[in-house]
């Protein structure tokens, strides 16, 4: 929790001013009962109406001043809290983007979102409450005690009994509450996760009529959450009434002590009333603190969840300093690369894979599903680090380059064309923010996307929905390719990204690529042999190892797996 203080540091003036204003409000408020005592004991008892009215006006004046204090406190505590929350959110978001997939796979993305919003909000809320109550409650409590004892020292006895009782209740509530809140937070995560899954799978869920199934699944979590809250209520609802009870008993105690004293002539009735008012204040403050402690229990859970993320460091270390010199193109070499996904057991997905690409060379990779083709693509920009062996780019280990420089020199089109909500142009501009519209258009033309994009009413300004939902599969892929081409990369990796393109379009794409990007080293992962034929060399992957590498003719002659692939695609055509 105390780690959070560093986030408040920048706003220390706000954080100091807020309690100061609160101090002013409390001090002024504490004067009120004293005025009342004057009215009753001096004014009423002596029938002095002038004194009554004069004191009354004083009371009015102080309460007007108090509002200034109250407002000042609100202003500065809000400023502190909001700045704090905003900074923390920013930091958390940046941090998550720095993590590698090995770590983000561990947290579900729905959980990351809840942490980023709900948990941060809770902390923010707590900061504001703290700034108001931290000062208000103790000052009000101590001030009240002093004032009460100053009027009559015997009243201290009542406080000496009641305060420990209230503190005990507060601590108990904290102890009981914390584990309960931790559970609630987890359940909220679960609920959000189900909702997110239902959103992303809505077509499948509807296609299989699994609404009731999902409903049942959701109801279980939903019920659990509601029940947990009710359990919390059952256990915690006693806190406030118990506090009130303590207060009422304290008032009775004061009345008893006061009653005897008034009869003995030691005290005025007005003074007894003033003491009651002070003691109510004291106990109210303690109850406020008890509430805060309850809040603290749930806030602590939120803080732990945030720090769990912040303290996770990326397994892909960005400690290389070299930058890629791509003036003469880029060469690529895999040297005995072995890789296994984190937390996966069994045989490694890549086993001592080696191959070499000269600048400007084009390599196509073919292979069975799950043979490790996409893995090859994902190791180059260091989404993961290989377990053993080396990946060399221009003769240097990729780990020697800074991540930014490494990823800047290449463009990769992933298998799943992920677009963002926004316009087509914005999605393409993603590749290179500085590009002009002509460049966007040119990239789109090479990617065979210009045709359909220009056909829309809003052309490149057409807004595409969540993840590009309003485009067809092939259109999405072409936008994704255009996005990559806009970077004018020296190394281009195409991971089976033309699977939804019809053959003619794909051929046109390859033709355009071959003429427009002559110096670019290209890695094409493909299923169709026709796609592979556009490359200089073809590599056949089988179970994470190279089963053959060479030209189409060479492989036909030497590689059994390749022959099988070819015949699976041309079987009839060959015999026909």
């Amino acid at each position: 929790m105390f780690k959070l203080l560093s986030y408040i540091k920048r706003y220390k003036w706000y954080a100091i001013l807020a309690p100061l204003f609160m101090l002013m409000e409390v001090a002024l408020e504490l004067m009120q009962p004293k005025f009342m005592a004057t009215i009753i004991d001096k004014g009423v008892a002596n029938g002095d109406t002038t004194l009554i009215w004069r004191t009354c006006v004083l009371m009015l004046a102080t309460s007007c001043l108090a509002v200034v204090g109250g407002f000042g406190c609100t202003l500065f505590s809000t400023l502190t809290g909001q700045h704090f929350g905003t900074d923390l959110r920013e930091k958390l978001f940046e941090h998550v983007l720095k993590l590698s997939f090995a770590e983000t796979d561990r947290f579900k993305s729905s959980s990351l979102i809840t942490r980023l919003t709900m948990d941060v909000n809770r902390l923010q809320h707590f900061v504001v409450i703290c700034l108001r109550m931290m000062v208000r409650a103790p000052i009000s409590a101590i001030g009240g005690c002093i004032m009460a004892v100053a009027i009559d020292w015997r009243m201290g006895g009542v406080l000496a009994v009641m305060i420990p009782v209230v503190i005990g209740v507060a601590l108990l509530s904290y102890k009981v509450g914390r584990p309960l809140f931790a559970k609630i937070q987890k359940m909220v995560d679960e609920i959000n996760h189900i909702i997110q899954e239902n959103l992303s799978g809505l077509r499948v869920i509807r296609a299989f009529c699994r609404r009731d199934h999902e409903k049942k699944r959701f109801d279980v979590s939903n019920r659990q959450l509601a029940d947990q809250f009710i359990t919390v209520a059952r256990k915690m609802s006693a806190i406030f009434p118990l506090g009130m009870l303590a207060m009422h008993f304290a008032i009775l105690g004061v009345l008893i002590i006061g009653g005897f004293n008034v009869r003995a002539g030691n005290m005025g009735v007005g003074e007894v009333l003033a003491v009651i008012s002070y003691i109510s204040r004291v106990l109210f403050s303690f109850m406020g603190m008890a509430h805060m402690l309850q809040d603290f229990a749930s806030t602590r859970v939120a803080a732990e969840r945030i720090f769990e993320v912040l303290e996770t460091s990326s397994s892909v270390q960005d400690d290389g300093t070299d930058s890629v010199d791509d003036t003469n193109g880029i060469s690529l070499e895999f040297k005995d690369v072995t890789f296994r996904y984190p937390e996966a057991a069994g045989a490694p997905i890549l086993q001592k894979l080696s191959f070499k690409l000269k600048p400007g060379e084009r390599l196509a990779i073919l292979g069975a599903t799950g043979s490790g083709k996409s893995t090859v693509a994902q190791l180059i920009p260091r989404f993961y680090d290989c377990v053993d062996g080396q990946i060399l780019l221009n003769g240097k280990d990729v780990r020697q380059y800074s991540l930014t420089s490494l990823r800047d020199c290449m463009a990769i089109v992933l298998q799943e064309a992920v677009l963002f909500s926004g316009t087509i142009a914005e999605n393409i501009l993603w590749g290179n923010q500085e590009a002009s519209f002509d460049e966007v258009r040119q990239a789109a033309t090479i990617a065979q996307a210009d045709g359909f994009a220009s056909g829309f009413n809003d052309q490149y300004d057409t807004i595409i929905g969540q993840k590009g939902i309003t485009l067809s599969g092939g259109q999405k892929q072409r936008v994704a390719i255009a996005r990559a081409l806009l970077r004018s990369p020296k190394l281009l990796i195409l991971d089976d990204c033309a699977s939804a393109l019809d053959v003619a379009t794909e051929q046109a794409l390859h033709k355009a690529l071959n003429t427009q990007l002559k110096d670019t080293t290209v890695l094409i992962i493909a299923q169709r042999v026709t796609s592979a034929l556009n490359a200089d060399k073809i590599m056949v992957l089988s179970d994470g190892a190279c089963a053959g590498i060479g030209t189409h003719e060479e492989l036909l002659a030497t590689c059994q797996v390749y022959r099988e692939i070819v015949s699976s695609q041309t079987g009839e055509a060959l015999t026909a």
Binding site: A45, A66, G70, T74, T117, V188, A238, I463, V566
Partner: protein, 640 residues
């Protein structure tokens, strides 16, 4: 961004300053809302949004009433809570009376009788008992009201969730998932505050407020006037501030929704973000939204936060007024000191609920804003489902598209007068350029979207006359997007048929040759699938989806690019299994890879939403038309 003309109505968005991309999105949502006739005020559309901010608060009462309405089915609990509240209030009223009597036992004026200490102590003992009892009642009240609140929220969450699975897909297409998630999570949790503290305490407050007022009037009408003199001022302050505050909170929640949407998009596309070194821009956009949210939140909270001190001041003013007047009257001997004491307690009881509301003003306004957004989602019309006709058993599987017109967006038709006749048991293939409308045809048959005109019939019955679930349960579909939920592989396959045994699941995967790779995974069929799916390749995901569809065992089968990422050798296995499976079923296969559709009975070549060629493969090859050209390019041309 020089290429993009500024959006013409950007200036009209008065209360949110957003980065251009989000600005456009918000405008697009708003257009959607206007097209769909969502509440947006009167007047012609172009006039309307000139003055309308993006978000606008509805009447708080309307929203509040809806929240109350949700608790309707729980009358017994509400009644119980009411009884508790009334008893507590009665105790609350009686206690100061006892206290007054006790204090008045003590003699301070010469003219009063001698102090009666026994009576004094007796009254105090009675008070102690009363307080203990009321503590117990408050405990029950706290517990039960939370139970009521949580049960109400349970139904609200349930409604929301069920609605999400019913609402028209067209609507969901326009929003980011994060935005909707934000409504279900953030906005709903705001409502939690209101419901758990609000609904019950609202009524309890009113009861105790009225009781206190009655008691005060009974004792001294003049003092009552002094005690409540500041109430009109409080009401005025509330009225002036509340609408503005709620608007601020609505804006805040809107930005939060956008922020959530952005985060969800970025987190779920992390590979792309990293590959393009796009972290900095993503962070910039995040920060812009984050800062904007801060700006609005600060306004909202400062405005709302000025309420408690203001109310506190008015409260203190009233208090001073009360003491002054009371003191004056007591000095004149018109009332006793005990009455003043009782009055200060009553006025606390009277002002307490009001102060409470003022202190929670922030939360209440935020909750109303949140509730409004939740209700807006609930008000989105669900997919029309008014069909009542049952499908014949067994189903023949004859599908007819008759003059179907369809457009996702007005003015950009995807299908125009499209007609297609699939005979029972026929295996039909759709090929053609991307964007030709192939997936749309499948989606329309599943009734994911409604037609603009024309009809689709299944065994002669218009599909709009068939209950949606009946229709969909007769069609097994493998979609282009390979959605797997986080769970085991086994559970994901079983999704196609929840009653399937393990043997059936394994048989289904074995038939398409997916058994081998699953068994090689460390936990076999019980391997958990992770969010980013690192452990399973795209092609493998597709295989799992196919196995799922096989299990569904429906009379009609749609395969939309089901094997596009599967290598061709594995695909051969899949095809063999499919050939067996397709016997006696009507099938629609969409594919680019022509090897996938070799065995189709009839191939339809689509272009721009029209069928330009159809026939069996041999017929099409003989015709040497579009299909022939496709095949030439795909099958290595003259190479082989």
């Amino acid at each position: 961004m020089t290429s993009l003309p500024p959006s013409p109505d950007r200036q009209n968005v008065t209360n949110l300053r957003l980065p251009p991309r989000f600005q456009k999105l918000v405008e697009a949502y708003r257009r959607h809302a206007q097209i769909n006739g969502a509440p947006g005020g009167g007047g012609p559309p172009h006039m309307r949004h000139l003055r309308t901010p993006i978000v606008r608060a509805h009447s708080p009462w309307q929203t509040f009433r809806r929240i109350i309405a949700m608790a309707k089915g729980r009358t017994a609990w509400i009644f119980l809570l009411f009884c508790l509240a009334i008893i507590s209030s009665a105790i609350g009223l009686y206690a100061p009376l006892l206290m007054r009597n006790a204090v008045d036992c003590i003699r301070i004026f010469e003219k009063q009788p001698e102090t009666d200490m026994d009576r004094f102590l007796l009254l105090l003992a009675a008070l102690a008992g009363l307080y203990a009892f009321s503590t117990f009642l408050s405990y029950l009240q706290g517990w039960f009201s939370e139970k009521l609140a949580q049960d109400t929220l349970f139904s609200l969450r349930q409604n929301l969730f069920n609605h999400l699975n019913k609402v028209a897909i067209r609507f969901l297409d326009t929003k980011t998932h994060g935005e909707i998630l934000s409504r279900a999570a953030n906005d709903l949790s705001l409502v939690t505050n209101l419901v758990s503290r609000g609904i019950v305490s609202f009524f309890v407050s009113i009861v105790s407020l009225l009781c206190a007022l009655g008691a005060m009037l009974y004792f001294s009408p003049l003092l009552t006037v002094a005690a409540v003199s500041t109430i009109p001022l409080s009401l005025l302050a509330t009225k002036l501030l509340s609408r503005h505050i709620r608007n601020c909170f609505l804006s805040q929640q809107t930005v939060l929704g956008l922020l959530n949407g952005h985060v969800e998009e970025i987190f779920s596309a992390q590979k792309n973000v990293k590959a393009f070194n796009h972290e900095a821009t993503a962070i910039d956009e995040f920060n812009a939204l984050n800062r904007e949210m801060m700006r609005i939140s600060i306004w909202a909270r400062i405005l709302a936060g000025s309420m408690p001190p203001l109310m506190n001041m008015l409260n203190n003013l009233g208090y001073a007024f009360l003491i002054g007047t009371g003191g004056y009257l007591a000095a004149k001997g018109l009332i006793t000191i005990g009455t003043i004491l009782a009055f200060t307690q009553y006025s606390r009881q009277f002002n307490g609920p009001l102060m409470n509301m003022a202190n929670q003003y922030n939360d209440i306004q935020a909750a109303l804003a949140g509730a409004e957004r939740v209700f807006a989602l609930l008000d989105e019309p669900p997919e029309a489902d008014d069909g009542t006709r049952e499908l014949p058993q067994p189903l023949q599987g004859e599908i007819v598209f008759d003059n179907v017109c369809f457009a996702y967006k007005e003015g950009e038709p995807v299908l125009q007068n499209f007609s297609l006749h699939v005979k029972p048991g026929q295996k039909i293939a759709l090929v053609g350029t991307t964007g030709a409308g192939k997936t749309t045809i499948a989606s329309l048959l599943m009734r994911f979207y409604e037609l603009n005109s024309g009809t689709i019939t299944l065994d002669g019955i218009d599909i709009t006359d068939i209950p949606r679930d009946t229709l969909r349960s007769r069609i097994a579909m493998v979609l282009q997007d390979t959605w797997l939920f986080s769970g085991t592989i086994r559970d994901n396959i079983r999704y196609g048929n929840l009653d399937a045994t393990n043997e059936q699941i394994e048989a289904a995967t074995a038939s398409i040759g997916a058994d081998a790779f699953i068994r090689r995974l460390p936990n076999g069929y019980d391997t958990l699938i992770s969010d980013n799916g690192g452990n399973i390749s795209q092609g493998q995901r597709q295989l799992i989806c196919i196995a799922r569809a096989i299990l569904a065992d429906a009379p009609i089968l749609i395969l939309d690019e089901a094997t596009s990422n599967v290598d061709t050798r594995t695909e051969l296995l899949v095809q063999k299994a499919m050939l067996h499976l397709m016997k006696g079923r009507t099938c629609i296969v969409i594919a680019h890879r022509l090897s996938t559709i070799r065995d189709a009975d009839s191939i339809q070549v689509l272009e721009h939403g029209h069928i330009i060629e159809q026939g069996s493969r041999q017929q099409l090859l003989d015709a040497k038309g579009a299909y022939w050209r496709l095949e030439q390019s795909q099958y290595l041309g003259g190479d082989c």
